[in-house]
Amino acid sequence: MTRYLIRRLVYLIPIWLGISFVAFSLANLTPGDPARLMLQRDLGRQPTAEEVSSVRDTMHLDDPFILRYVRWLENAVTGDLGTSYRTGEPVLSGLAQRFPSTLQIAGLGLALAIVIALPLGIMAALWRNSAIDHLSRVLALLGASMPSYWVAYLLILLFAVKLNMLPVAGKGGWQHLILPSVTLGLGACASLMRLTRSEMLEVLGQDYIRTSRAKGLASWAVVVRHGLRNALIPVTTVVGMRFAGLLGGAVIVETIFAWPGIGKFVLDSIFDRDYPVIQGFVVFMGTIFLLVNLVVDMSYAWLDPRIRLSR
């Protein structure tokens, strides 16, 4: 297992370099000359050509792309992702400070999705074409088709305004977590449900399950001992991917629910043309995603010994 972990970690290095390269290249998409933009912000007027060229010199903007990338990378590796134009704080600490909030709703959202999706998916597979199967299909379809930002307002209207059960927005007690998490988890729940169902169906159709059943093992025992474990392998992958997706998708939910997380921070930065933050966001989220994938891989290997042995 340890050797497998090390192998995965080594594999992650080139991918991470790729992520950093993408992030760095993105900054070159910005319209206009970065030196001019920076001067405009600092001076508050159109800078002269001499000023621009002198700043280009000090920023080494005329160096070859690769050279600039390596220079930037050196800083990035040490955690220096630059400074926010807007708040003046280091980008990394700005992101890291807000990340736990996002993690909270994404984590709870995913947990809710799993708690609902797994049992429903399994039941739908066990009793195909039953009422519960149809119900799960409808739920999955709606979950995958309704815009989360629309659902958010419907939920607010129902639970916060009409029933007065939950708070509308902001951060506070556990109650504040519920609506954002539910909104965020909805899409994930739908796809997990479908996936669990189809994977269970496949596993249930396998010879060994049929054999076990034929041997007279209780059907629940079969499902739990054999079916679930095998069906869970692909589900785990998707859970991991979903989790990263939730982290990325939190921007909409955070905006609606005034949740002080990383997505809201980045959205403000986008409107502010705060390029270092946007760039830092890419590196940060890319790194998080890699780590999530690593965890997924490890649990995958744990669930399925063939994987860690074969590679």
Binding site: Q40, R41, L43, G44, R45, Q46, R86, T87, G88, E89, R98, I156, A160, V161, N164, P167, V168, A169, G170, K171, T255, I256, F257, A258, P260, K264, F265, D268, F271, D272, R273
Partner: protein, 587 residues
Amino acid sequence: MERYQDALRVPVSRRRFLWLTGITAGVVSSGLLAACGSDDDGETPPSTGSDATPTTGASTGGDATATPGDTADTTPAAEAPTSPSGEGEGAPGGELIVAATQDGYRTEPNRANVGQYPLNTNIFETLVRLTPDYQVEPVLAESWEFVEPNTWRFLLREGVTFHDGTPFTAEAVQWSMGRIAAVGGGQLGVDETSVEIVDDFTVAITPSRTNLRVIQQISHPSNSIVAPDTEPAEIRVGTGPFMEVEYLPEDRYVVEANPDYWGDAPQLSQITFRFIPDPTTRVLALQSGEVDLVVEVPRESARDLTSMDGLSLVTSKVGAYEALYVNIHGEEPYDLGQEKAVREAVAYGIDKDSIVNGVWQGNAEISNTMIPPAILGDAGDIITGTTFDPDRARQILEDAGWVEGSGGVREKDGRQLKLTMIVGFPNAEIHTPMPEFVQAQLADIGIEMDIVQTPDTAIYEARLQTGEGDLWAEAGSQNDGNPCFLPDLLFYSPDPEGDPESMAYGNAFAPGAAFDAHIDDCRAAVTTEEVQDAAAEAMKVLVDDEFVVIPLAGTFRLYGVSAKVQGFEAHPSGVNQRWASVSVDEG
């Protein structure tokens, strides 16, 4: 009495100095003052206009130990500065939860204004402050006087302590002004040597340039007095009726009553300010009972609030305004505003009445100037403004050579008539949906308009500095009782030697010599009528002659308040809002 007479002489010299220094004073402070532009008001009676303002408190200066009550003979500024309820030591009770707009604090050392501006949590106090009627009243300074040529002497309140127990003395004033001096001196124009400690409770402030507006400017919460050797970026130690419990950036700011407050004790035991940038979410939070009071209820949906049980709409006096400024000095592609016909057509192409009564549901008033009528007086009658006349607008464009092109957009010499409107001062939400309405109306006369929304003041100003935009939507207002203050501040030709960061408005909008002459008159005027006339003439240049300013409406603040909140008085200047007199009836 000698001081009193000095004070009487002030108006004459003041205008002289303003004439000499107004350029820098106005321009250097434009960023900051504009930032507070939407907060202050012109409700001050005309008689206290430019003439009276510098002397407001000076009249009390004859008695160094005067209590605020003693000043009643000269100005209405004499009321007890806090808690009119006067319940004294009554046990504080009640917790108030306020939904504020976005967290707009700066956190760089020296520039940090946490707890002060734009959300004033009443942790800090200033030397003097503005009443809801726009009079200057004493707070940490009991009285003040102007000493020619350029010095303001403040006699400080004794027996005041900071929240950490440090006594409030002249040293605190020096420290606080030193912070401002360290970052350029702000609108006050102070430098390291400006503050002289005369004795423990007397300071003399001499700005590095002549500035007779000190007494009004120093009332701005950004000039709050912080405890010596403390930096609000790190820790907030003030003298105010409330003390900090916790500040969680972009989330909440919790303050509690200061048991040792020198003035009347606050009624509330605690206030939680929650930062909720989205106005819809704010109102919803009020409706669900999560918060007790919301700021900046959207104009277009404020009516809904009045139909909800247990909620009411509280408005302040009119003072603010909504206007478009046209960039007349822009570089391509933002140079179309240079052509007067284009500006004139835009002015005639906008239906103000529909904006005020339709789009904003009557939560504003039609206005032809930026200066509220209360302060401009009848003099404002000379400004005719423009009334909606799309045919005339089309004709103006036609005559200027802008002919119908493809897709209904007018063209001249192969160039399309496309303008960009920048919306974001002090935030984008406060303007909605006016920009889209204007967009549709301009499309009607053959002008295509893009809308760019900036989320906050900083990015708006960054854009203004680089002149990237044609039409600039601003919700701002008078900063003091001087009718000329705003036109002077925003439109006087910039001094090329001045601080570049602060020339943004002049660089984009200054109409030039004809306008400047009126402002010069204004600065030299003796009587209130003269000042009003000059201000009206200046405004007329902006609105009627040059079409640099297209006023849309006079506006007021809208608060949504739950029935259990009592004693809330909406200050027309949001940053001067006071909370000490508010109470919550939990019953």
